[in-house]
Each structure stands twice: as C-alpha cells, then as structure tokens.
C-alpha cells in the first residue's frame, strides 16, 4: 500500500460544543473522528476545572475539499462568539478511500 496525503483537521473547543461540532463535521462529510479530553489556556482564559469547563480536541481525517469546507463552516458559525482553535495538518494515510467524503460537494 502506498501512503496518500490527506488533511487532518483539529478543533479545540469547549466541551459543551462537542455534540454540535461532531454533528457539523459529520454533515460536512467526515466519516469518522477521534475525541480527547484536554485542558487549555488562551485568549478566553483558563479552561482547566469542572467549574471553568474543560476542552475537547476533535480530530478528523478528511480529503482536502472536505477539510476546507469544515474550516470555512466552523469559522463562519463559531469564530465570533466561541473559544475555538482550528487547524489543518497534512498527513499520509494508507487507505485513502475510508476517509473520502461520500457526499457530493454542494
């Protein structure tokens, strides 16, 4: 098998947003994701206890076009109000088709 480049989109956000964000990325074409519990600090202060709320890191491997759509949509809908950090990394995977979105780009 030969490695093929894909995009790994990472979202760091308040745990309260988890369900909504997962719903968004699924709708936008992600076929899987991985979630980890993290704490953090940023422009909106600390998020490191039960009272302050914690963060989640959501990672999804998608094709380039879906990555772009996810980034634009999340930015559009959440950046103004929410403490969200979002970035994309190029990674190499062996079975590209398991990550490619099934839906047509609309």
């Amino acid at each position: 098998m030969k490695p093929v480049p894909m995009q790994l989109v990472t979202i760091i956000a308040a745990q309260e947003l988890e369900d909504r964000l997962l719903h968004e990325i699924k709708t936008l074409g992600a076929r899987g994701y991985t979630v980890a519990q993290v704490r953090g600090h940023g422009l909106h202060g600390f998020r490191a206890s039960e009272y302050e709320g914690e963060n989640v890191r959501i990672e999804t491997i998608v094709d380039g076009r879906t990555a772009e759509r996810i980034q634009q949509e999340i930015a559009h809908r959440y950046f103004n109000e929410w403490a969200i950090v979002l970035y994309a990394t190029q990674v190499n995977v062996l079975r590209p088709d398991r990550f490619v979105s099934e839906e047509p780009v609309t």
Binding site: E16, E50, Y51, E81, W82
Partner: protein, 322 residues
C-alpha cells in the same frame, strides 16, 4: 439550646475548605484527580434528592407550595436588581452583568448542603421538602438573566431561546435533585433504608471532601480577586447578607419553621457555581468567566459557609423568638 457560632467555623466541613485554600496558597501539589470533583457533585445532588424524597412520604403538597413560590419570586427579584446594580453602579457590560445576575439569582447546592449539616449538628429540625426548593430555585434566574442579555444585545447570532430552556431544565442538577426526590418518594422510607449506608451516613464525609476540593479551586481563583476589582468584591460580600435576610423573612412569612427559614435565607444568599457557569458558558460565551467564577466561588461561597449561614440562623432565631 446553647448556640456557639464558633462551632460552625470549626466544623470539619468549613475547616476542610480552608485547608484547600491554604494548600493552594502555599503552592502544594495537592490536586484531586480529574473526574473526582464531578463524581462528588453527582453524589451530593443525588443524595440530597433521595433523602428529601424519602421524607416527603405522606406530606401534604400544599405545605410546600407557598415556600416554593416565595423562593422562585425571590430568585427573580434578586436577578433583576443585581443586574440593575451591576449595570448602573458597577459599570459592567450587558453580558457580564447578566451572567453575574444569573449566578446570584440561582442557588448553590454545596452551600445548601452545608446549611443542612449546620442545622443537623445543632439538632435543629427542618422541613423534608427543602431539596425541592433547591431544585426549583436553580433555573429561573439563569433563564431570566440570559433573556435580559439577549434582549439588550443587538447581535444577530443569538441562539434560539427554547432549546436553551430545555437544556437548563434537563441539566444534571435538576435531573439528580428531582429524580432523586421522585425515587426517594416512590420507594419510601423503607426503600431509602436500603441505600442509606451510602447516601445518608457518609454524606457529611463526602461533603468534607467536596469542600476540600472547592477550597483548592477557590485558592487558585483568589489571585483573580484583583482583576475582579473592589466593586465586585464588596458586592459579593454585601448582597448575600441582604439576600439572606430577605430569604429568612420570606421563609417566616411563607410558613417555614426556624430551620427552613434559615435554609431559604441561605439559598437566597448563595450564588450558583455549578449550574450557572455551565449555562453561561453556552448561552453567554461573550461574558468573562473570571468575573462570575471569582465572585460566586471565591467570595460568596466561602463567606456563606463560614459567616453567612450562622448569621442567617441567628436572624431566624431572633425572628422566631427563640
């Protein structure tokens, strides 16, 4: 009945809280593992509900309708005037003032538990339905505060209001308190006996651990006091005294006993630091958490536990002429 106000300060609960604060101040590495604070919260809320429910067996609902109404009205009023004061005199922005108003209008389960433990240790009786009071007084002010913020902001990206209300009414504290009460009521005193060795006897021990952890968090927040400013500091100490007095009066008028009036005073004086922060994070993300967390957790909460509760109790005693 001989009453010594110092005894409250020297209860294991209060002292554990102070130990937590002290540990942070001396930069100890003491830290509860992730998940333990939440597990303790779940235990406390569920235990409060179950115990209250089990005692409700055979009580006339009419008995607690009036106190409940009184509690809700109080919450709404507190929310409105704290919002006004914070806007006008504190010069806070709409979002920050609303978030703070929601916290002070809502209630704190840990403070409630501390007041029950306080009365228990003095042998003062109180009504079994008080947990229901705790449950119904949690949500109204939060909803109102969010509504106030939304009305006054011209933002076009407001979240629709109804789903938000749904989220609040199904929040974990409401579910655990009301669910626990329903279970306690349905299974009766006999059912509660089966689970009392976990939910009754060790309750104060778990509360002690919870307060130790709350002390650790409070200690970290104390550094933010400066950024909170002197207005918010004074506000967070003075308002509880006012609200506590009003709460005791409301309890007296609505037919509660001396113990129940003390608890209603405590509830009115307390500021939520579990349900309200969670709600504000979602509904008012533009509000600065430093303000409401520092006020509710680092100032009002310890004040109530150490000074407030004995104060409201003393007032209640004099009101009831004991």
């Amino acid at each position: 009945m001989d009453y010594n106000p110092l005894a409250s300060l020297l209860s294991p609960m209060t002292l554990a809280f102070l130990l937590g604060v002290a540990a942070t101040l001396v930069r100890s590495d003491l830290k509860f593992p992730d998940g333990v604070p939440m597990a303790l919260t779940i235990y406390l809320l569920f235990a409060i509900g179950l115990k209250g429910g089990a005692k409700l067996h055979g009580i006339d609902p009419a008995d607690f309708l009036v106190p409940m109404l009184a509690g809700i009205v109080l919450c709404v009023l507190i929310c409105l005037w704290t919002f006004g004061i914070l806007r006008r005199f504190g010069r806070f922005g709409v979002a920050d003032a609303a978030a703070l108003a929601g916290h002070f209008g809502s209630v704190s389960a840990a403070t409630f538990a501390a007041s029950l433990a306080f009365l228990d240790s003095l042998g003062v009786p109180f009504e079994p339905f008080l947990p229901a009071l705790l449950a119904v007084m949690e949500v109204p002010a939060i909803v109102l505060a969010i509504y106030l913020a939304h009305r006054q902001s011209e933002g076009n990206r407001q979240r629709p209001f109804l789903p938000l209300l749904g989220e609040l009414l199904t929040g974990k504290s409401v579910i655990l308190l009301l669910g626990g009460m329903a279970i306690g009521m349905a299974s009766g005193p006999q059912g509660f006996t089966q689970i009392a060795p976990l939910f009754d006897a060790p309750f104060r021990g778990f509360l002690t651990l919870f307060l130790l952890e709350a002390g650790l968090v409070t200690g970290r927040r104390l550094a933010d006091l400066r950024s909170a400013g002197w207005f918010l500091t004074v506000f967070s100490l003075a308002m509880p005294v006012l609200h506590g007095g009003l709460g005791v009066l409301a309890g007296y008028w609505s037919g509660l006993g001396m113990g129940g009036a003390t608890v209603l005073g405590t509830l009115a004086a307390s500021a939520s630091y579990i349900a309200a922060p969670a709600a504000m994070r979602v509904a008012l993300p533009q509000a600065n958490p430093s303000f409401y967390l520092t006020a509710a957790l680092a100032i009002t909460f310890p004040f109530n536990v150490a000074v407030g509760i004995p104060l409201y109790y003393a007032f209640s005693r004099s009101l009831f002429g004991v």
